[in-house]
């Protein structure tokens, strides 16, 4: 625990330094792409716990994001109280009108998403594979349809005017937290239990591992951080609408995971960065050659080719480490088969 706090303090200090550096010297557009990468990392790493470790193929991550985004936005934009002296509604001042109110708002958003995760997790326990995928997709769609029907939060037009609280510091602070927690989770009794369920559910149950409890836990954990990511995204874009969280968003996150290698956290991180930064880089290429839309076509083709030729993703289920890098460098002898399986 002491070591963990040490790592946390050092990483947060680094993030703070990076934040200062980016704000002072780097182009705003680039900073924005970096921030989007950070949010994608939170999404991909958290989904990896559900889809990669536990093997529960969920296509509902955007639904959890939407819940987190709207709930946290509710706190930062519309939470008011009735002030007797002024005889009108006033925003809760010191708490939610400053940066410091942002974290509690995010966490409440995360908790709301986690509750939704439990609600989704429990009934879908009986489903497996593609049926689970389609049911969670249905859940995500229901969430966006519900939001569309709530006029008080903007309905289909969306909710504008979110304060621009998200910055590199907050986003990467949560990146550090989710990466650290997920790494710890993966390398603990819990992580092994999740992998055991993925590998062979019946055998896990016979070993006394309650698959249903673990699956719900995985959903709660993943949904919590998806909710946080949603809140961060909302306060970065400053306007959220149901369309921001349609099921294409869920699919995007799944594709990040699959590209990196389902079950590999470092793979998820690499996948998130590549699939967030690459489309931005291709945007210029696209306008130069005058073929608008070719970017998304290429994206789809890469996905298909990846599944046909390397379905396990870039890293398979391995974690990227210095040792693995060493093995990948040609000319060095290694005992076991290295990066390839």
């Amino acid at each position: 625990m002491g070591r963990m706090i040490g790592i946390l303090v050092v990483s947060l200090a680094v993030v703070l330094g990076v934040n200062w550096f980016l704000d002072s010297y780097i182009d705003q557009y680039v900073v924005r792409v970096i921030n989007m990468c950070g949010i994608s990392i939170i999404l991909a790493v958290s989904l990896n716990v559900i889809n990669g470790l536990c093997g529960q193929f969920s296509l509902g991550h955007a639904g959890f994001m939407a819940i987190g985004a709207y709930v946290s936005a509710w706190f930062t934009t519309t939470l008011r109280y009735f002030d007797e002296a002024q005889a009108k509604y006033v925003a809760i001042e010191p708490m939610f009108s400053s940066q410091w109110g942002f974290v509690p708002a995010l966490i409440v958003g995360g908790i709301a998403a986690a509750i939704a995760g439990a609600v989704v997790g429990i009934p879908t326990l009986r489903l497996k594979g593609d049926y689970l995928a389609i049911a969670t997709l249905g859940f995500g769609e229901i969430v966006t349809i519900m939001i569309t029907n709530f006029e008080t939060i903007g309905g289909a037009n969306g909710l504008p005017g979110l304060p621009a609280y998200s910055n590199t510091f907050w986003i990467f602070a949560f990146v550090v937290i989710v990466v650290m927690f997920s790494w710890y989770l993966q390398r603990s009794t819990f992580g092994r239990a999740l992998i055991a369920i993925r590998e062979n559910e019946l055998a896990a149950e016979v070993m006394g591992i309650s698959a249903s409890r673990m699956k719900v836990m995985a959903f709660i954990y993943g949904a919590f951080f998806a909710g946080i990511a949603g809140g961060l995204l909302g306060h970065l874009l400053q306007t959220i609408s149901p369309a921001t969280f349609n099921f294409m968003k869920s699919i995007e996150v799944v594709v990040m995971l699959v590209l990196g290698g389902l079950g590999s956290m470092t793979g998820a991180i690499v996948g998130a960065i590549v699939l967030t930064a690459l489309p931005e880089a291709l945007r210029d290429v696209e306008s130069e050659i005058g073929l608008v839309g070719v970017r998304m076509v290429a994206y789809a083709l890469v996905l298909i080719l990846l599944m046909i030729f390397r379905p396990q993703g870039i890293f398979g289920q391995k974690e990227l480490s210095l040792k693995l890098l060493g093995r990948l460098i040609p000319g060095r002898k290694s005992g076991n088969a290295g990066g390839e399986e």
Binding site: T189, A196, L202, A203, Y221
Partner: protein, 254 residues
């Protein structure tokens, strides 16, 4: 001697097929008990009912005086019944050591908080599981392969790892489903010795399904023979060997 496991009129039907019919079984504590029968006799189905995988249509299963019917596999495991599978079900992507550690999972008292925040309890728990797992890998002779992925193990070792994993749950009763299937003569002899050691040294009662007559006759104290879902004989190896009904079932009468 008290009976650790007792079934009464255990019956299960799949649609119109009665797979097991009025099955009675009494396994005493500390016994090495064999359950044999031709292919399709319903032996594995019995195991599935004993371990909560299938719900019997009729009859009861008692373990250690407690009713097992209606329990799910997790609850049965907590009661102290563990098993292996005919078609090996290891966690292929986990290492050999981690496979065995999952067996020790059920006795852990940590929660998600401990894992995420790396509390002292987390480290204590990891050590406890690792110690149990390592001890059992040693017991099964797999300690020098602890770091390999389970899928890298050769066939015979996979069988042994499954037994080690089941033993890591610290059971009172272990149900072995054809542990010697696919092994050569040397491996079988080694396995016989190991099974005996499980009972003698670890004090775990063993219920064994096996096709290899020599192995069963060699180590089991009592044997029950199942054919078409019904018990046709029960007794010591010697009695079973000379039972005309058993001979007929195996050599195929009619």
């Amino acid at each position: 001697m008290t009976s650790l496991l007792a079934t009464e009129d255990l019956t299960i039907r799949f649609g119109g097929l009665t797979a097991v019919d009025g099955f009675c079984l009494k396994v005493h504590e500390g016994e090495l008990f064999g359950l044999i029968g031709p292919n399709g006799a319903g032996k594995t189905t019995v195991f599935n009912m004993l371990t909560g995988v299938y719900l019997p249509s009729e009859g009861t299963v008692h373990c250690d005086g407690r009713l097992v019917n209606g329990m799910n596999p997790v609850q049965v495991a907590r009661l102290g019944v563990s098993r292996t599978f005919q078609n090996i079900r290891l966690f292929d992507e986990l290492s050999v050591l981690e496979n065995a550690m999952t067996g020790a999972h059920q006795h852990s008292k940590i929660n998600l908080f401990d894992s995420l925040f790396r509390t002292p309890r987390h480290y204590r728990e990891e050590k406890r599981q690792r110690d149990i797992a390592y001890r059992l890998l040693e017991f099964m002779g797999l300690e020098d392969r602890a770091g390999l992925a389970a899928k890298q193990l050769p066939y015979g070792h996979r069988r042994k790892l499954e037994i080690a994993r089941a033993l890591a749950t610290e059971p009172k009763l272990i149900c072995l489903d054809e542990p010697a299937a696919g092994m050569n003569t040397g491996e079988k002899a080694e396995l016989s010795a190991l099974i005996r050691k499980i009972r003698d040294e670890l004090k775990v009662t063993v219920l064994l399904i096996e096709h290899d007559m020599k192995l069963v006759m060699g180590i089991c104290e009592r044997i029950q023979v199942l054919d078409y879902g019904k018990t046709i004989a029960l007794g010591t190896p010697k009695e079973i060997q000379n039972d005309p009904k058993v001979i007929e079932a195996y050599l195929g009468g009619e």
